[in-house]
């Protein structure tokens, strides 16, 4: 029987259920089929008028109806992904998940339709200020719960019956990976045998799009949406905002085996390293990214040569892809030219707070299926960052260990090492 402790004597943490929703569809079967066929989920925004916007495309999830707000859609997406993950794992009972919830969620804010509704009720005919809004605010009691930062996690905790105080967290675009890391740490400490880790994001709304647009972070390739996300290409021009959720049921190997659960994969290591260089840019020497990836490898007890595949952060911004290349080429050395590294974001866009979790789910599926999803739209390679991006077509390979990178504003860097079940 394989050992149930890792090289450091800690409980091995396994994945026994995954769930995913993206602009490609709901559920892992549909997502995996499209992801490995090179289908793009990016499209023109129809949720709201885009008059005057520089970016008018997104990977929004539109098949769930018109959302009331980011908080509501993020909750709906998290709910769907969690439902699928828990059903697959077969853990616990309905409404009784035997462990804590770690939820990566966009910061919750009141939005324009709601602000305007309060303004209209204020009865002010001329200039509307917050004093006017305050006069009418007691007529909107439901807005209190809805626009609290903790509301999404609270509702998910209530529905699935997770234990203890649910954690709502943000490490910007690394949030989903941080949620998984918190779950891994809790299981390794012996605080719990299981954890529900979710990343969700449903924040394609006018102000959110404009905020990223004002930072010049978004692709403006509006005329050909499916070609807009071009990670690692020479003509990449920014990321494409997108929505979705990924959920993972993590368990100690002991607990999973004891109940006869199917092991989908192993979270072998987690690494993080904060970058203090700039609010939105990476340190030009790449040291924090390099340290992050090395920390993850060290935590997994592996060397760079053990890694068979990299699920890239690969946002398609000029800055990220260059820095990710610098980080990976430093860690993996000359091997980088032969090490497959692909970006799911070329098809699903950048799902922000959800990205780390969604891409961890896809990394688990990549290992399970021994098949690497491609980086699509790789038509003009960037000679400055020569990589095997699994260009345009999925490829089969023998894969034992993969690494998934997540980097975010505010100096956030997290890498996860995922492996197949120990023999």
């Amino acid at each position: 029987m394989a050992p149930t402790k890792d090289k450091m004597g800690r409980p091995i943490v396994v994945v026994t259920g995954v769930g995913v929703v993206t602009s490609l569809g709901a559920g892992k079967a549909d997502n995996w089929a499209k992801l490995t066929s090179g289908v793009s989920g990016i499209h023109a925004i129809t949720r709201f008028p885009t008059d005057g916007l520089k970016t008018r495309i997104a990977g929004s999830v539109d098949f769930l109806g018109q959302p009331d707000c980011t908080a509501a859609l993020s909750e709906q997406l998290a709910d769907l992904a969690a439902e699928e993950a828990i059903a697959q794992s077969g853990i616990g009972k309905a409404g009784d998940f035997p462990g804590p919830l770690f939820l990566a969620v966009p910061p919750i804010e009141m939005e324009w339709p709601h602000r305007l509704a309060v303004g209209a009720r204020s009865g002010s005919n001329d200039t509307v200020t917050y004093s006017d809004l305050l006069r009418a605010s007691d007529q909107f009691p439901a807005y209190h719960d809805r626009f609290l930062f903790g509301s999404v996690a609270d509702h998910i905790a209530e529905k699935f019956g997770t234990r203890g105080s649910p954690i709502s967290l943000s490490t910007a675009c690394a949030s989903g990976a941080s949620a998984i890391q918190l779950g891994v740490e809790a299981i390794r400490r012996g605080d719990t045998d299981a954890a529900l880790c979710i990343g969700t994001d449903g924040s394609v709304n006018p102000e959110a799009v404009i905020r990223f647009s004002l930072l010049s972070a978004l692709s403006t390739s509006n005329d050909n949406p499916q070609k807009a996300a071009r990670p690692f290409s020479k003509n990449r021009d920014g990321f494409v905002m997108a929505e979705g959720a990924g959920a993972l049921v993590l368990e100690s190997y002991d607990a999973a085996r004891a109940r006869g659960a199917t092991i989908l994969g192993v979270v072998e290591g987690c690494g993080e390293k904060t970058d203090a260089f700039h609010r939105t840019r990476s340190s030009p020497d790449g040291k924090p990214i390099i340290a992050c990836i090395r920390n993850a490898l060290e935590d997994a007890g592996l060397t760079p040569d053990d890694i068979d595949y990299v699920n890239a952060h690969g946002t398609s911004t000029p800055e990220n892809d260059k820095m990710e290349y610098l980080g990976c080429s430093t860690v993996f050395g000359e091997r980088i030219s032969k090490l497959p590294i692909s970006s799911n974001k070329s098809m699903i866009g950048h799902t922000l707070s959800a990205a780390g979790a969604i891409e961890a789910v896809f990394t688990v599926l990549t290992l399970q299926n021994q098949r690497m999803p491609p980086t699509v739209n790789y038509d003009v390679p960037d000679p400055a960052i020569p990589l095997d991006v699994v260009p345009n077509t999925a490829r089969d390979a023998t894969l034992k260990h993969a690494i998934s990178n997540s980097f975010g504003f505010g100096g956030q860097n997290v890498s996860l090492v995922v492996g197949v079940e120990p023999a």
Partner: protein
């Protein structure tokens, strides 16, 4: 603390609020027992504004200050005070393996942009186009970064060089409780040696007053200490609080002294129905009570003043009447995310003095305590969700 867990010390505190900055200013004001609040600026709503702070002292670059909104300045400032207090400011070797968990809200609005849109959009020929146009031209590009929850941590990394891990928890009061709980668990289990934990809140914001006034939770018209409020309500407070929490062995190796021992942090979440706050607190109390010496212990409560949560906490505390109780919200107002770290810091200050500050409550719940103080139980009951307790002890 689990069996075999490593002992954790509080080796640094950094606090700012309406009472001023630092341990001494807070102790002085708490000892005077004369709370004050601003009843006019946001009338009828009452707030506890930040005391005047020279941000240059902890955030020397004006360029950094300009990239932040006030909640981030408050937090970055308090974090700097905590690093100074722990003797690690500027010590790159320590800061590069220091973990950080920040409890954060965020989302500060540009009030004038909001007002322009609220006023003009209903009358615009193309309302959606008007919204897009105004946001595209009126929003400062950097405002987004000043709104983002995780950018308080980001600013602390940039200004103070804390660069191991950086995690931001959201979720009102629970964020502060769980930030400290998880930092302590990681240290206890050997996953971390030293951590900077805390948060910041700017209570002088009409958009936040509105958020809580949707549920009618704000204290209005007349100030009263927390336990005396009828029908209840909280006054928002501007405050920042950070703690340096450290494995004892790590502190000893670098010659640092303990300000206090952080013995335990426990938290829970129950759907709020009558009696559930009490039940939650009873369950948490069962986890720490065997270690509490009633003769030398007191409670520092994070009660907000808003009911029914505060009424239930009051009943719980009255039922455990052997311990003297103090509600610091009377002085500080309510700062949500950083409230629990702030009360841990104030517990640490009281333990350093070896005594408790006087009562400020005419209802009789807060009783005088004259004897020596060796332990403080800190409570945190969220106004809407989340309950927690910590046990802080005199070290050595």
């Amino acid at each position: 603390m689990a069996d075999g867990a490593r002992e954790a010390w509080i080796t640094g505190i950094g606090i700012v609020s309406c009472l001023g900055e630092g341990a001494d200013a807070h102790w002085l004001k708490l000892s005077e027992a004369k709370p004050s609040a601003d009843t006019t600026t946001f009338a009828p709503y009452i707030v506890h504004p930040l005391a005047p702070i020279n941000f240059d002292l902890q955030i020397p670059k004006k360029g950094d200050q300009r990239q932040m909104e006030n909640w981030q300045r408050i937090g970055t400032y308090a974090a700097g005070l905590a690093l100074d207090s722990a003797g690690v400011k500027g010590k790159t070797e320590v800061l590069s393996h220091m973990d950080m968990i920040v409890a954060a809200g965020g989302g500060e609005r540009d009030l004038s942009v909001d007002s322009t849109i609220l006023s003009g959009m209903p009358r615009a020929a193309n309302p959606a186009g008007f919204l897009n146009e105004r946001l595209m031209s009126d929003l400062r590009p950097t405002l987004f970064l000043a709104q983002l929850s995780n950018l308080l941590a980001g600013n602390i990394s940039i200004v103070h060089g804390v660069t191991s891990s950086s995690r931001t928890f959201m979720g009102e009061e629970s964020a502060g409780l769980d930030a400290v709980r998880i930092a302590l668990s990681r240290i206890g289990a050997g996953q971390s040696d030293i951590a900077l934990v805390g948060g910041a809140h700017n209570g002088e914001r009409p958009d936040l007053i509105m958020l809580y006034e949707f549920a009618g939770l704000m204290l209005k018209d007349k100030f009263a200490p927390v336990w005396e409020r009828v029908p209840g309500g909280f006054a928002l407070g501007s405050l920042g609080a950070f703690l340096v929490i450290e494995a004892r062995e790590h502190a000893e190796a670098r010659g640092a002294k303990a300000l206090a021992r952080l013995a335990s942090v426990v938290s829970d979440r129950r759907r709020r129905q009558p009696g559930n706050v009490t039940a939650s607190l009873e369950g948490l109390w069962d986890k720490v009570k065997d270690r509490v010496d009633g003769k030398r212990a007191a409670v520092i409560s994070g009660a907000t003043g808003a009911n029914p949560a505060t009424a239930e906490e009051r009943a719980f505390l009255a039922a455990h009447g052997e311990l003297a109780v103090r509600a610091t919200g009377t002085y500080l107002g309510h700062g949500l995310e950083p409230q629990f770290p702030m009360n841990l810091a104030l517990a640490t200050v009281a333990l350093q003095h070896g005594s408790l500050f006087p009562p400020c409550d005419s209802t009789g719940l807060e009783k005088p305590m004259s004897g020596p103080l060796a332990q403080v139980v800190v409570t945190g009951v969220g106004h809407w969700r989340g309950e927690g307790l910590a046990l802080v002890e005199k070290a050595g």
